[in-house]
Symmetry: C2
Subunit: 251 residues, 2 copies
Amino acid sequence: MTQNIYDNDAFFSDYSKLPRSVEGLDGAPEWPTLRAMLPAMAGLRVVDLGCGFGWFCRWACAAGAAQVLGLDVSENMLARARETTADKAIAYARVDLERLDLPAGSFDLAYSSLALHYVEGLKPLLENVHRALVPDGRLVFSVEHPLYTAPSRPGWIEDTSGHKTWPLDRYLEEGPRTTDWLAKGVVKRHRTVATHLNHLLASGFTLARVEEWGPTDVQIAQHPAWAAERHRPPFLLVSARRADGVSSTVG
Amino acid sequence: MTQNIYDNDAFFSDYSKLPRSVEGLDGAPEWPTLRAMLPAMAGLRVVDLGCGFGWFCRWACAAGAAQVLGLDVSENMLARARETTADKAIAYARVDLERLDLPAGSFDLAYSSLALHYVEGLKPLLENVHRALVPDGRLVFSVEHPLYTAPSRPGWIEDTSGHKTWPLDRYLEEGPRTTDWLAKGVVKRHRTVATHLNHLLASGFTLARVEEWGPTDVQIAQHPAWAAERHRPPFLLVSARRADGVSSTVG
């Protein structure tokens, strides 16, 4: 099972204070880019892998989705999601993404925000998502960028002139990375960009778009400290499509 | 026009001494990986963008290609290629890749090794290659990895314990990068991984495979100094296919 750090009370308490927890999607700087990669929501059956507080589920429903299923491993997150959701078209369920088992052909869109870097078994998950989508269905997800997860010592190095560099190492060494982010010993799974893409292709997806997210000029004007993120993108965003024809029989 | 550094005599003299210049494909550590991304050569019409000394052209011909066209901007490279090529199925021509204008539907495979990072106009080049391929034709290429081209000061930082890190900065700032590699003032074009892929997709290609190349265990045993390359892959390798249907009308 994936480490369920969101049910660590101290972690959860601090996580709940982050802008993206308090303000929802508008508190996530990469949201406008991710939103632009999504299809029109009207009438779609949507599954959200790692739904957290349910912000995306509620947005999708308000944007016209027919049904939204939010999945998360954290009881804390799901309790808060249920408390703040009134729409009957949204359902939540507790699921370990390492053991995802969605029914075949049952969704038009699978979405995941900053959850898949906790999952060890990305390949079987993508294969299940491929099966669970209708032909031409879409998968849109974000993860922490592999440049962010790779290093032994993931922190900016600042020289005497104030110039920052990111001390990259171990990029090609895939596997667990343990960091102290909000709590000690948070375990994430480092995978290269190529591995993310090749797992998608081998699962029968075609690639539609890739974004290595960094802040816009407007965002930097509002948050000058974010400028350094252009040296090393913090998020990888991917849009893929369930391919028809031969490759879809992989699923 | 792309900077034609290979016709700088001092650069050319030093370049000619590199293992990949003396030993050909077997002197290029990424060649086995790139070769595995190629289709079977039998009967193919092949174009090599940035053919250099013609090593790949001769290999493709020996592997059964029907015709091979080697293109390069450097008179030095082309002269050496012609001197060392006997096969009549291979032709060479001087072409600036910034102004590539291949005839439509005339090739089964376009190949390029470590040349496209010199090209400013990658998008129009890919659009021309797409048009020049037959439906389901393939494009297989390598470039210097964007992690290699990005930094202001592209050199390993070694701490007192001998551990190396790569000082990443400016990853999201695309544009020219001037380095002193074999000669002063060599200009390469930095583009992110996402930009390479999105240009391919927008040109009508579908992605088949991506590799961020690093040395194998066997290669490190033979060349221990190469181990650091696993911290920061030096080469990006991509295999793409000319898509049929709607997107192929882009060309």
